[in-house]
Amino acid sequence: MKRLGDNQDHQSRLLTAISGWWRQADVGTDLNRIVLVVLLALGLGLMYNAVFVWPNQTAPPPDQSSQNFGELTIEQAYQLAQGQQAVIVDTRDPASYAREHIAGAVNLPATQFDSYYPDFANHVGTGETIILYCGTECGSKERVAKQLQERDYKDLNLMAGGPEEWATAGYPVATGEDTHRAEGERQ
């Protein structure tokens, strides 16, 4: 009983110390001010974007809209890659690519597009069929597709899913860095 009482005493002293510190440090006031700063920042940011950023983001012409990208299932992508020798492009970061990627896929990371593109352009012509993937819950394949579209690549297809789904479907995957790029760097 005495030990239980001691524990309760310790807890009560701890709570008193915390509430005393909270009052002394005036944390409640700080939190209120932080909420105001955060709301002010969000409001200013949205207004700035509405006035200066979003109006300048011109929509692509109708014949080049992202709706014109082909949408492929994994099976369709596999058939297309087999039949027409389409180029499969992995738009994830190099580390994710190195861990696992679709066998034969070329790495063109959205976050390092400008760095990787010249090497990509040396290997892939604008008339070739391209299949882009990044996985589920990601948007990098769309961004890379738009960048390629601006550089006159025409036959662009977005594949749903990534290497995991590809492997689950029984198709081959590989590991290691992009050999095309490694070759380019050696030249």
Binding site: L31, V38, A41, L42, G45, S96, T111, C138, G139
Partner: protein, 161 residues
Amino acid sequence: MPAMCRRIGRILGDRKVLTILRLAVAAAFIVASWEKILKPDDFASIVEGYRILPVAVVPLVATWLAWTELVAGVMLLAGVWTRAVGLLFSFLTFVFIAGLVQAMARGIDIQCGCFSLDPEAAARSWASLWQEFLLLAACLWLWIGHWKKAPDRRSTTGTTP
């Protein structure tokens, strides 16, 4: 030991040191926010690279982060609500560190996006995390330094820090 604690407390609460620290932290966050505000899409790409948030909310969070850095940085520069801004920046820096750590633990090759949106910037490594921890320490120092002064200031001038 108590003497050492008092000495550390004096250094932490020294007005000149706190002023220099306040201006340095303010400048760091204002500079960091500039490119993010001018290139919101590039910053959104980096935020998405952390793979924490749903893609749909990334642009909103990226906008909020960039502008919070600017607005709070300007407030810090002007000395307005310094203590609250110190706490806010401590929280933001902690979130950046947590995001970086989880990304590196998952093997994601990631650019921090903290001070530069350059895609060619070197990916972050465990060794380079000291910069974020240094910033976190500075922000916490700002908050705690002004927290220690709060009771005195209330009793003497009645103004808020």
